[in-house]
């Protein structure tokens, strides 16, 4: 590769580049006729090259690892929601795409550890610009983004995602809230991540059964 004389180097204080810049402009000579005909060879040989097209709906290539896709509201290992309804995401959103309404947890109806939970959680995907500022703002890692990008629909209403559309699915060992926190723990244990799924789910089941009875 020919080095570009105009790129300044750190050592020569740009003097070489300055000299090169002051050189008279070389006259542009068109390539010879036969050299120009090489273009036909280029297009011809490209016919037999591998096609670059990804036939999308049939073939789906994975996105980049940190691709900004649809949001997800995460849960703790026992199924309680991480969202505390603080609205920081909504405040961080530059496009005003997020609506949060918090509410108080009660001992009978607990959705998240601690005092508050997000009662209403909506993201308007007609407004969202997928900048990820909401994710940065979230104090509990409740809000993250998935790699899902197929967000097309035929009405405005369908593109406003409700809380149940955004919530992460219940995995093994998770219980559908509302249910109390694991016995003998408080919200700080949840926050520190000391709650493990299976144990707490069992105990929660136990507690649940107790309250039911």
């Amino acid at each position: 590769m020919v080095e570009n004389p105009l790129t300044p180097h750190s050592k020569d204080l740009g003097l070489v580049a300055a000299e090169a810049a002051n050189a008279p402009i070389a006259e542009q000579v068109p390539a010879s006729f036969f050299k120009q005909l090489l273009g036909f060879w280029v297009t011809f040989i490209t016919i037999f090259k591998k096609v670059n097209t990804v036939e999308y709906p049939e073939v789906k290539e994975p996105t980049a690892e940190r691709f900004h896709g649809r949001h997800q509201l995460n849960r703790y290992e026992d199924g309680l929601e991480k969202c505390i309804g603080c609205e920081l995401c909504a405040w961080a959103c530059p496009a005003d795409a997020i609506l949060v309404e918090g509410a108080n947890n009660t001992e009978e109806e607990r959705f998240s550890p601690g005092e508050r939970y997000g009662k209403v959680y909506q993201i308007n995907y007609l407004r969202c610009v997928f900048c990820g500022l909401c994710i940065e703002a979230c104090p509990t890692r409740a809000l993250t983004m998935t790699n899902e990008y197929e967000l097309a629909d035929d009405s405005r209403g369908k593109l406003i995602f409700e809380k149940e559309d955004l919530l992460a699915p219940l995995r093994q060992g998770m219980l559908q809230p509302p249910h109390p926190m694991a016995p003998g723990t408080d919200h700080l244990d949840y926050y520190r991540g000391t709650i493990t799924g299976s144990d707490s789910a069992k105990s929660a089941e136990h507690v649940h059964g107790a309250t039911d009875a």
């Binding site: 810049a21 050189a23 008279p24 011809f44 490209t46 591998k50």
Partner: protein
């Protein structure tokens, strides 16, 4: 049987069938060639091209056509309504008409009737094709003019200027063919290529024709009329729906038309490649159609290849090329051909023929070297810098780079 005997005894219904056949062939060829062009040019750009509608996307152009036909048909307020409607019809009719004299096959059996797949055979067949092509230009001019808007007018003017100037070169390139075949009838020209195809014996004519047919059909790299950046859509900017589809159809039928004329005049028409003449009797003579179509398809592939490779030319370069290179070159070539032809007809001794050929070559070389030295002299005078410095202050000539180096 002679061509006259075969075509002259055609009953009316056979003529009708042939007319219908020509129409169907042209329309189907258009649909397939649009698909083929898009697929091939896509491959040249490492893409796939249309592959959704039908097997391999074969029905893509049909779907596009239906979509076009269902669109709203607009006529601008300032347009001349009658001419605006007539223009695409002229354009498309002219294209189809030129197919009347193109022989598509040798002797075949059409519904129990021995005939040729050729609507008619005129003694001035090729002249007729040129005339019809000129009529087709009216479609472009009228479309541009009647739209009542600036861009179509400019596009129409460009297209017509282009088509007319390249028609001159095209006509001149055909003269050599007429001289050597002694006829303007397409079937006689094909018969005259029995021993050697004209693309070999009259190679320069073939090259000139091949170039001018690209110019004539407004195709890349000569598609100046459709220079989107300059003229929006060219002469058909204001057209929509079926009228636009007609122009589209006309363009592609035109390509097939000039390709088949090239096949007829230079590539031996429907005849097989030398050494494969036995194939002409296959399927009761119908196999000749395959040969004809294969040659036309070859031309079409070259059209696509040109489009995939070359950038669009500038208008002045294009006109310069047409008037200052192609036309003088064909005139000189016609002189040479006619001289040699007359000599061979009068049975001039070999030595004289060689002498004349050598003389022509020497003359050409001399002219070339004269031009070169002239060019050099001019370049030298430029170098000395005889540009007089004016008395008033002028900005410095841009002989030095003035780019900033550090930010």
């Amino acid at each position: 049987m002679s061509v006259e005997a075969l075509l002259g005894t055609d009953p009316g219904w056979i003529i009708l069938v042939k007319g219908l056949l020509i129409f169907v062939i042209c329309v189907v060829a258009t649909l397939l060639s649009i698909w083929g062009e898009r697929r091939l040019v896509a491959r040249m750009q490492q893409r796939l091209g249309p592959n959704r509608v039908g097997k391999f996307g074969l029905l893509q152009s049909l779907a596009d056509g239906v979509k076009l036909a269902l669109k709203e048909d607009l006529i601008p307020k300032t347009a001349d309504r009658i001419v605006f409607v007539i223009a695409p019809i002229i354009s498309v009719t002219a294209c189809f008409m030129s197919f009347a004299v193109i022989p598509l096959s040798g002797q075949v059996n059409l519904f129990g009737h021995k005939t040729l797949l050729q609507l008619t055979d005129l003694p001035v067949g090729v002249l007729y094709v040129l005339a019809i092509a000129s009529v087709g230009v009216y479609g472009i001019v009228l479309a541009g003019w009647s739209s009542g808007s600036t861009y179509p007018l400019l596009g129409g003017l460009r297209s017509s200027a282009q088509v007319i100037s390249y028609e001159v070169a095209m006509g001149l390139s055909l003269v050599a063919v007429f001289i050597y075949s002694g006829s303007m009838s397409t079937s006689a020209i094909i018969a005259a290529q029995h021993d050697w195809w004209f693309c070999i014996t009259l190679f320069p004519s073939f090259v000139i024709y091949a170039i001018s047919m690209v110019g004539e059909t407004n195709r890349a790299p000569f598609d100046l009329a459709e220079a989107e950046g300059e003229l929006v859509g060219g002469f058909h900017t204001e057209y929509s729906s079926l009228k636009f589809a007609l122009f589209f159809l006309a363009e592609y039928v035109n390509i097939v038309g000039v390709s088949s004329l090239a096949t007829t005049l230079f590539l031996g028409g429907y005849h097989a490649l030398p050494g494969l003449t036995f194939t002409e009797n296959w399927l009761g003579g119908w196999f000749t159609v395959v040969w004809f179509l294969a040659k036309v398809v070859m031309f079409f592939i070259i059209f696509v290849w040109l489009r995939g490779t070359l950038p669009r030319m500038r208008y002045d370069q294009f006109m310069k090329f047409g008037w200052k290179v192609l036309i003088p070159f064909s005139l000189v070539w016609i002189m040479i051909v006619s001289t040699l032809r007359v000599m061979s007809q009068r049975h001039t001794p070999r030595a004289a023929v060689f002498g004349v050929t050598l003389g022509i070559i020497l003359l050409l070389l001399a002219a070339n070297s004269l031009m070169e030295s002239n060019k050099k002299r001019r370049a030298k005078s430029d170098e000395i810098g005889e540009v007089s410095t004016p008395s008033f202050p002028v900005p410095e000539l841009p002989t030095k780079r003035t780019e900033q180096i550090n930010g």
